[in-house]
Symmetry: C2
Subunit: 230 residues, 2 copies
């Protein structure tokens, strides 16, 4: 597997694996393979038996759940370095609680469940790092929950700033993933139209700028200001 070998070289750069030797990585990921996905491809679907977990190498995936009303709700945006479905690998017959859908072209390192049980859990340091990723995810959910009563423009601002924080600010103010208004709406539990009304207003003000699905935040200070209005 050429792609796999190439991917192993990238893994060092993720905090999850920092300090691991190439041999250790090969051992942990043995039997894994690189999955290349295009826009809207599914890695797996909510309800499927979970026979593998994985690491996002490149691009992004949205993790969705069908709501009681039928529409999808986006639970999380997974970007490079994020583990996916690792948290449920400990269960005897795990089921994916969410669907993973590719946003644009992306790459995913898919690893058999067995590796997790027999190799990953044997490394206490690794478990703690995964716990830390899990905790980050919970913190994001809590941050969002804190905004439930806030007006929509604050919710959108919070989401954009949260995604922006994954970049070092140096890389410019581009969001690290292609994002449609619908996806923002699905993540916030709002309607597309309302999100558009908020964001096209900001476009006119020059706070943000979008080319295709790439969103650039030109005036983060203004968005932060919006967050602070009580």
């Amino acid at each position: 597997m050429d792609a796999l070998q190439a991917a192993l070289n990238e893994l060092h750069t993720f905090p999850l694996f920092s300090g691991y030797t190439r041999d250790e990585l090969m051992y942990l990921c043995e039997g894994g393979r690189i999955q290349v996905t295009e826009h809207r491809d599914q890695l797996f679907s909510a309800g499927d038996p979970a026979l593998s977990f994985g690491v996002v190498i490149y691009g992004a995936y949205k993790l969705c759940r069908p709501s009681p009303m039928g529409e999808d709700v986006i639970m999380h945006f997974s970007t490079p370095g994020d583990v996916v479905a690792a948290f449920i690998m400990g269960q005897p017959h795990p089921i994916y609680p969410i669907s993973a859908v590719s946003m644009g072209n992306s790459r995913y390192l898919k690893i058999p469940q067995q590796n997790y049980l027999e190799r990953w859990t044997k490394k206490p340091e690794l478990i703690l790092r995964i716990q830390s990723l899990l905790f980050q995810r919970m913190t994001i959910l809590q941050d969002q929950k804190a905004f439930t009563k806030a007006p929509l423009n604050q919710k959108v601002a919070a989401l954009l700033m949260q995604l922006l924080d994954r970049n070092t600010r140096e890389e410019g103010m581009f969001l690290p993933l292609p994002l449609t208004r619908k996806e923002i709406a699905d993540s916030l539990g709002a309607s597309v139209e309302s999100v558009i009304r908020v964001m096209s207003d900001w476009s006119k003000q020059g706070y943000i700028q979008t080319t295709g699905q790439q969103i650039e935040v030109c005036r983060p200070d203004k968005l932060i200001e919006i967050l602070k209005i009580e």
Copy 2:
């Protein structure tokens, strides 16, 4: 410490510690002490440096965060067997991200951070169990997020059923913790008045019954029915 010794006897009954011997528990909890709290006492406050974590022994605690608008949002209800603040113990100088407030009379086993770093993390099995608790908490948050677009009566029904599920159904249909309408509202991001309107309607229908802060669900089937209406 008499209270501590007594508490150690109870710890076996929690899944977190099932299978541990008394000696192991003493080792893990050495230096800990039992904190007895009354209604609305605070264990700690959001923003404080986190020098200890703990386990809920009896009663319940609500974990809150101040929202951007000043009001509190309830992130989680912790009931016996739940660990509190364990997830942040790995950080060098952790800060409590939330406040913990007693609901009625409760008991909490407070354990120094050092124990976590030097003893708890040395037991892979224990880390995995804590990860499982963390995952449960995230799942609850996700379940709630899935209801953001649902009408208020569905949200309330979902919350009540979720809390009820912590009991075996045999123990009757009493919620395992004293709960005011305000707390339900703060947990759902709704207003007290709206929650009251939903619940007093159910009281009239005979679906639920409340004596003091104890809520009894008489017709869980009806609440589940409400959840299913799309």
